[in-house]
């Protein structure tokens, strides 16, 4: 589904990714771990096409298509979703109008008619339940006045609405208490199908206990230096990253 080959990327002329190789197949959940500043968020931003990052070398293919040739919104329409680490507030734009614009843009891309208002609102109601998002929040402006936990739940709600095939969760667990973490993680699990995949960025085992990833990658200094099964995450939880650094000769 997602094939990243020898990806180099920089921001403001500084190289952050220095040759990333990664393949995620249909139905798989991959976890991406690594110290702060290793390039995890950069990788997710480059996949979704953030304009601040420049790809200097390498390729990303998504379902066989050259992803780097597509605009950010086209990548979204192709089925890629990013749950932002810090979701931005958009005052004045109601969640309803925002979601309707997003959903209908995707439908247009797929050659479908816009969803009728009644149908759309029904869909909002149903998907809201997945992350126990309050009706009041759904009627407010996008993320405005939401608590940290509500913002993260709102991200998963949007994921439920847009039904992506590849979801990227960028530290969705940060700033969540135990209950909120459970709601977000269970919401995510409900949305999983054999056809959907995910890349989960996290520092903590807690989230992975819920999500049960198939593959763990360690990203250090702009490169994936180690890949393993779920046991790798446990080991990192116990021993940190120093031993991997040593192994990698960093």
């Amino acid at each position: 589904m997602l094939e990243i080959e020898n990806l180099h990327a920089s921001i403001n002329g500084k190289e952050i990714l220095k040759g990333v190789n990664l393949v995620i197949r249909e139905g798989e959940v991959h976890a991406l771990m690594g110290q702060n500043g290793a390039g995890k968020s950069t990788l997710s931003n480059v996949i979704v096409g953030h304009p601040a990052y420049e790809v200097t070398q390498g390729s990303i293919r998504f379902n066989g298509k050259d992803l780097l040739a597509l605009k950010p919104e086209e990548r979204a329409h192709e089925g890629i979703f990013l749950s932002f680490q810090q979701p931005v507030e958009i005052p004045g734009v109601s969640m309803v109008n925002f979601m309707r614009a997003a959903l209908n843009a995707k439908r247009k891309y797929q050659g479908l008619e816009p969803l009728a208002a009644g149908e759309f609102l029904k869909m909002m109601r149903e998907k809201r339940k997945i992350v126990e998002l309050d009706n009041k929040l759904a009627n407010r402006s996008v993320n405005e006045g939401f608590s940290g936990g509500e913002k993260k739940r709102n991200e998963i709600f949007q994921m439920a609405m847009l039904e992506p095939t590849l979801s990227i969760l960028d530290e969705t667990d940060s700033g969540l208490d135990v209950d909120a973490l459970r709601i977000v993680a269970e919401g995510f699990n409900k949305l999983r199908t054999p056809q959907t995949s995910a890349m989960v960025i996290t520092h903590y085992q807690r989230l992975l206990d819920y999500l049960k990833p198939d593959v763990i990658h360690v990203l250090l200094n702009g490169k994936i230096v180690k890949t393993g099964g779920p046991e790798l995450a446990m080991e990192i939880e116990k021993k940190g990253f120093d031993w991997i650094k040593e192994e990698a000769g960093l």
Binding site: I90, G92, N97, A101, A105, V142
Partner: protein, 481 residues
């Protein structure tokens, strides 16, 4: 790739979709301004002596005045002798008989979405269509007359209802008010007149559509609305002009009289040609609009969506004389490229327990300058006066400017006056968030801007709100990226 290019071109062309001009034989008088020219205009319009005198007095006063320079505007030098003050596109066909309109003019208004045949008209809206200096047609006149409502061009009103016009013309905006008011009073051509008699609720929206067509001319609109005791009217105004690389002058006066318990809602969607992306051409929109709330418990509400014009200089104001009268001003002003807007309102509280509300939303993009200028004045007589003002500015990009000039002049201790102001910016992060959810940048800007302006847009009548929403999106195309 070529497909993509053609799409880009389509979007660029869409920017000002009213920029066409109409090939119609137009009688234009020679350029220049003098007493002779004013006599000629008055003669052409078949006016009574008192109106000619009014014009000449205004003209003589104007000669003693200087253009105001206090606006936050870089105004091009206007050569008042290089403008034609009267252009009549209806002249040639009149021999064929009254009531016959040149099909080219009909087509023009059709193209603008303002059909002049009543059976095609927007339901529930009567239109007075003005091109250049002349009213082409007023629809639904007879139907309104059944209720005693007078709705016609001001030229016709002068002929048919001279007493009413004489009583109210210049009673709210005297020609001495300001430079452009004096100029307008001297040379005004056409505009609308409406009179709503006592106790009548006007059953349809009244509207005037102003179109500038002829080259090298100025348009001097004059509109007068009188809403008698316990009456109600909602009035709409729209404006467009062809794309020309010269500046064209539109110096208007709108006067509104609101009597006891009466209510007037006045909405404007101003979309004059704004000039090109380099700042060449565009309409100079220099307008004096004022309402006088004469009666107790009268209400007046101004709603304006200003997206066009190279320069907008306009302060729809209210004089709250009647005790318990209420005035509102809702404004969205959008400037892009090299447009400049200096707009706001004046609320003059004279009566007791008068209340005014000001909601202003400025949106600036490109290299434009957008200023809110507002005065709240409370006279010593205005016990219990209240005002609430809120002025927000939204910036797109960093080359534009937003400015707020609030003035307060309070002479009564019991007055409560509140003022709030904010400035915000559409961030790259907000746009990218929308992109990631599948919303293209142009649509995202439209969504954010409409969200920002919705308090004002909600005040517009339905059909116009939809139109205005689209207009906001189009006006800001190409501002980011």
């Amino acid at each position: 790739m070529s497909q993509k290019n053609s799409f880009v071109r389509e979007v660029a062309d869409k920017k000002y979709e009213y920029g066409f001009s109409t090939e119609v034989e137009t009688e234009i008088i020679e350029k220049g301004l003098s007493e002779e020219v004013i006599r000629l205009i008055s003669h052409k319009k078949g006016e009574p002596e008192w109106l000619l005198d009014f014009r000449l007095e205004a003209y003589r006063y104007w000669l003693t005045m200087e253009e105001p320079s206090w606006g936050h505007l870089k105004m091009p030098k206007i050569d008042y002798q290089n403008i034609s003050y009267y252009a009549d596109p209806t002249r040639t066909k009149t021999e064929k008989g009254k009531g016959e309109i040149d099909p080219e003019l009909m087509k023009t208004f059709d193209k603008l979405g303002i059909p002049l045949e009543e059976r095609l008209a927007l339901s529930g809206t009567a239109v007075d269509a003005v091109m250049d200096s002349v009213s082409v047609k007023t629809t639904f006149r007879e139907k309104l007359q059944e209720k005693g409502i007078i709705f016609c061009s001001i030229s016709e009103a002068v002929r048919e209802y001279p007493e009413l016009v004489k009583e109210y013309l210049g009673s709210v905006v005297p020609y001495r008010d300001n430079f452009f008011a004096a100029l307008n009073s001297a040379v005004f051509s056409d505009g609308s007149f409406a009179y709503i008699p006592k106790g009548v609720r006007c059953p349809m929206e009244l509207s005037t559509y102003f179109r500038i067509n002829a080259r090298g001319t100025g348009q001097f609109e004059r509109t007068l609305l009188v809403c008698d005791d316990d009456a109600y009217v909602s009035y709409l105004e729209g404006c467009t002009a062809p794309m020309r690389d010269e500046n064209q002058l539109h110096a208007a006066i709108v006067e509104i009289v609101v009597k006891e318990n009466a209510e007037v809602k006045y909405s404007t969607v101003q979309n004059w040609y704004p000039g090109d992306s380099e700042g060449k051409g565009g309409v100079l929109n220099l307008v004096t609009k004022r309402g006088h709330l004469r009666g107790a418990n009268s209400k007046l509400s101004w709603t304006q969506v200003e997206t066009g014009s190279a320069i907008t200089w306009k302060y729809p104001s209210c004089i709250l004389s009647g005790d318990g009268s209420q005035a509102e001003f809702y404004s969205v002003a959008v400037t892009n490229h090299y447009q400049q807007a200096d707009t706001g309102t004046k609320m003059i509280h004279i009566g007791k327990n008068t209340k005014s509300t000001i909601i202003s939303k400025g949106i600036s993009a490109g290299k434009s300058q957008n200023s809110y200028r507002g005065l709240v004045k409370v006279a010593h007589t205005a016990d219990g006066a209240r005002n609430y003002s809120s002025c927000d500015s939204l910036l797109l990009g960093s080359a534009c400017g937003a400015h707020t000039f609030p003035y307060m002049d309070i002479h009564n201790e019991s007055a409560v006056v509140e003022h709030e102001a904010t400035t915000s910016k559409i961030s790259e992060d907000q746009l990218f968030y929308c992109n990631q959810r599948g919303i293209p940048t142009e649509d995202a800007i439209g969504l954010i801007v409409n969200g920002y302006a919705k308090d004002v847009l909600n005040k517009l009548p339905m059909e116009f709100a939809v139109e205005a929403q689209k207009l906001l999106g189009v006006s800001l195309e190409g501002t980011i990226g």
